[in-house]
């Protein structure tokens, strides 16, 4: 009885994802061992629960359009460096979903999560099974050495929490990703996400309240918190995700900040160009 229910649920999930897409995702090689798990706890079979939701958001809610997704190499280590916008990190989820379902062969984009996440029940397990990794330097290094696909947001919370008056401006980029790329000899694919900025346009950031609640920011949007929990839902904006040409850098990973900074600037410039292009090409926020 229970088994037939769970099988029916599984079938429904796979139907949502689409059989052929699921077939590709399931047979993807992301470094799993003979038991189906990779050392970080990623499990392709468990992916369907989250992927089904992500696919609904991807296809019907945000109607994501990807451009030049084949710039991501089919195999070998690679780093996706993206801008980070929209108060809640759905841009990461949409990019990862795109790389999984729109790219052939699919790749598992691995994000780096905050260090306190493993102490939250359920979330910790779900994130691990979906290939998310605790954000330590050694973990990132190991992922790349195992020829993984790492997704990085060098702006961090600076980018995602900015208010709407600075929409599509790029914040200061961290340099750690570049040092890591140099050290592991990893090509960088710049990613520009257009649209996410409008999903939750923050008018004001109540920093004092954020501090009390221990959150990185407490945004006030036209709907949140005035409409209650429903106001925290993102608006159904249209996402456009641009993937740039892979960039290869050479140099000493322990070089001065000045030298590394110049290389970071090149990546930042590439992302900025894609954002400009995306903003010109789109006809509206919701279409």
């Amino acid at each position: 009885m229970l088994k037939s229910v769970s099988r029916r649920v599984d079938d429904a999930l796979i139907k949502t994802i689409r059989e052929d897409v699921w077939e590709r995702v399931q047979s993807m090689d992301a470094g799993q061992n003979e038991y189906g798990f990779d050392p970080f706890g990623f499990h392709a079979e468990s992916l369907k629960y989250v992927l089904a939701v992500a696919v609904l958001l991807y296809r019907h809610y945000f109607r994501v359009e990807t451009f030049d997704i084949d710039n991501i190499p089919d195999r070998g280590r690679v780093m996706l460096v993206s801008n980070h916008t929209g108060q809640i990190p759905l841009d990461g989820m949409m990019t990862a979903t795109g790389v999984l379902i729109d790219k052939q062969p699919p790749r598992m984009a691995r994000g780096m999560i905050e260090r306190w996440v493993p102490s939250i029940p359920f979330i910790s397990t779900i994130f691990a099974r979906c290939g998310q990794v605790v954000g330590t330097r050694d973990n990132a290094r190991m992922l790349l050495k195992r020829d993984g696909c790492l997704m990085v947001f060098p702006e961090g919370t600076r980018g995602i929490n900015k208010t709407y008056d600075r929409a599509y401006e790029l914040e200061r980029f961290g340099r750690g990703f570049m040092r890591l790329a140099l050290e592991t000899d990893t090509p960088i694919v710049p990613v520009g996400v257009v649209g996410a900025e409008e999903q939750m346009p923050a008018i004001y950031n109540v920093e004092s309240l954020a501090k009390i609640l221990g959150m990185p920011a407490f945004p006030i949007t036209p709907t949140w918190p005035f409409l209650g929990p429903a106001g925290a839902l993102p608006l159904p904006v249209k996402y456009r995700i641009y993937f740039g040409e892979p960039m290869k850098f050479d140099g000493d990973p322990d070089d001065e900040d000045r030298v590394i900074g110049a290389q970071v600037k090149q990546v930042r410039q590439a992302i900025r160009e894609m954002l400009t292009r995306g903003l010109e090409e789109r006809e509206g926020v919701f279409f």
């Binding site: 061992n33 493993p118 102490s119 910790s124 605790v134 330590t136 190991m142």
Partner: protein, 318 residues
């Protein structure tokens, strides 16, 4: 004595704490190639006939006789107590003073090799851990779990010995959860019919078979090998996968409830699980064993299926 004089040419290895399940496993393997002398304060039974046993507490003076009588080529130090029910001071004294005594004797009698069995638990499970901890990682196991502190102190002591006596090859082994026909905590946990788990947590776990640890000790005896080595077996799998394979029926409980139950059971002496050990089924504590594999030539032979088959069997009745 006659045995040793007859076979004369073999190297002589002293195994402290030979009476335990693990000590016996080591002795049974080593006695084929070495002359083994065992030291234990417990009565030692069911040993191969060619092993000499000294029944004495390693803190006693009489241990010196073993070293004085003949030249020892290596010491495998397993005489480390892991019993959460023993009084803390006695536990600490036995482990630290005992180790110090053995190391002092090794220095005095110029034993060229000392192997100590520490544990990957000295790193301690923690949400901020790297997925795989290298030998350089800080020994943070004691931050929540007091009973592990003497093992950390012991590990550190061996490290200082490493620098003070460069002429002696000190090897410290830090294996992941040892599982098999032994009576340690991970094996006992996996033998439970309905093991409790923490609801919503399912960390990746490394297991290693007892015999593979013995293999590591064998490799460590090779001249020239020295230093600290993490030891791990097959690639890690989630805890739920292990329990599934064993056909167990886990009992997931919210963490506060489980902690409370365990605390009560501990106070009533109904269970021997120290509460802080719950972190092992909550967070990762896995080690990077690449150094042991490249430098020591260590290889594991037991895959997950083999390990789980052996954990089902009770430790031998002797």
């Amino acid at each position: 004595m006659t045995n040793r004089t007859r076979r004369g040419g073999n190297e002589k290895v002293v195994i402290t704490g030979i009476g335990g399940n693990f000590g016996r496993a080591v002795a049974r393997r080593l006695h084929r190639h070495y002359d083994v002398i065992g030291i234990d304060r417990r009565t030692v039974r069911h040993m191969p006939k060619d092993i000499d046993i000294e029944q004495v507490d390693i803190r006693r003076r009489r241990v010196e006789d073993v070293f004085r009588r003949e030249h020892i080529d290596a010491v495998v130090h397993l005489n480390i107590m892991h019993d959460p029910r023993t009084r803390q001071d006695e536990h600490h004294h036995f482990n630290i003073v005992g180790t110090q005594k053995i190391f002092g004797l090794c220095a005095e009698h110029r034993v060229p090799k000392v192997i100590v069995l520490s544990s990957a638990n000295v790193y301690g499970p923690d949400p901020t851990n790297d997925q795989f901890l290298t030998e350089e990682a800080a020994l943070m196991g004691g931050q929540n779990f007091e009973a592990i502190r003497d093992l950390i102190a012991l590990d550190m002591f061996c490290n200082t010995f490493f620098w003070r006596h460069p002429e002696i090859e000190t090897v410290i082994l830090r294996p992941a959860h040892i599982v098999g026909r032994v009576n340690n905590a991970p094996s006992k946990y996996l033998r439970l019919e309905r093991p409790p788990t923490i609801m919503g947590h399912d960390p990746m776990v490394q297991l290693i078979h007892v015999e593979d640890v013995v293999t590591a000790i064998e490799r460590a005896l090779i001249p020239g090998i020295r230093g600290v080595f993490n030891i791990a077996g097959p690639s890690p799998v989630p805890l739920s996968f292990i329990l599934d394979e064993l056909g167990r029926n886990p009992r997931p409980l919210p963490e506060p409830v489980l902690r409370m139950m365990l605390k009560t059971a501990w106070a009533l002496k109904m269970s021997d699980w120290p509460v802080p050990e719950l972190d092992h089924i909550k967070y990762v504590c896995m080690v990077d064993d690449s150094l042991a594999r490249s430098k020591m030539g260590f290889e594991h032979h037991f895959e997950i299926e083999d390990i789980l088959r052996d954990v089902e069997k009770e430790p031998r009745p002797w």
